[in-house]
Subunit: 194 residues, 2 copies
Amino acid sequence: MNVSHDKNAALDQALELFWTKGYASTSLKDLERATGMHPGSLYAAFGSKAKLYCLSLERYATRLNHLRAELQAQAGSPLEGLAQFILRAHPLSDANAPLPVCYLVKATLETSQGNQAIEDKLSELLTQNDAIFADVFQQAIDAGELPAHSDAAKLARQLSADLAGLCFYALREKDAEVIKDMVGDLATRVRTQH
Amino acid sequence: MNVSHDKNAALDQALELFWTKGYASTSLKDLERATGMHPGSLYAAFGSKAKLYCLSLERYATRLNHLRAELQAQAGSPLEGLAQFILRAHPLSDANAPLPVCYLVKATLETSQGNQAIEDKLSELLTQNDAIFADVFQQAIDAGELPAHSDAAKLARQLSADLAGLCFYALREKDAEVIKDMVGDLATRVRTQH
DNA sequence: GGGCAACTTGAGTGATCACTCAAGAAGGGT
DNA sequence: ACCCTTCTTGAGTGATCACTCAAGTTGCCC
């Protein structure tokens, strides 16, 4: 009996596995179990474990950016859009959100030495993300929401680092209230910039 | 020909390896090469790969805390001590420093699911570290360096997250000037608290 | 220098790793 | 109903994993 597989569904399963277990400690056996695909099919569809991982990173980044764009469109201003994104992107505030920036952060910290293709893909996605943040801050400057002398790129870097710090802290802190508080603080900081 | 080994030196080698490669992707072969010890000796001295890793985490945390205490003693005030610590602990500003908080941060993000003993050890060390930060902030409050209504624990959590965010960003940003800038900004933020 | 405890050695353990490929099933066109 | 392409299957590949242990070496006490 043969089973036909949905590539996207399998990719989502893989994303979740890689996210929770990490790249190195996720085995092909794990991936087979999670996706319901056999090794041959996995390799026919994705090429290799590393390529599958890269695809999962890309898929995640795309989804996160779509959420951001959507919230940005709904919000009354660039900064308010970012603030909403911070509040929504975190899994504690909305379990159905495409989850926190954490996957890219986790990936960056665990694969800092190893497969070159993975590092390149990560670098590409993170740089892209910083550029998007910078773009939003620039819009805020142009709209007069931020002083004209503000440095959009620098603000983007700081937000990137702040989000990463939050992800880290959320991973170890059991008390949801504490995290909610920190997320709220960051959103406020972005809204008011100081 | 037998070779007698220095356990501490071997532990340092292991620490460095685990730090750069990550726990899962560091093999016993790697550890043998780096420490010059044979598998039997490694197991006689440390028990297992996981225990060796826990020891390296502990060693790192201890060293980092010693540096903090030293800088704290030299500095004119609790907050200034913390600021100095932030400036010094980062590898870009001093290659001989015991390195950034990054090892614990990296470890937390890469072992979020797996060996229970490792998770427990990490949780213990990070909680300990937060407590130390909170203690310093409390000293700052008592000394009048911070307003009496300040929340030492909350400030400690924020600093912990900020340092983690910095570690993350430093890992991917190639431009040393940018990182120096961010480190400096964080130090200033700690000194002036806003 | 003989005896013994403590340490070092490294080939070997079974398990698991990422990955392959020949054989079989399914689906479509005629 | 038949062929032919395309996809699925899963046992099998050699490599490498964390780890063990019997044999060998060393250093110390008398």
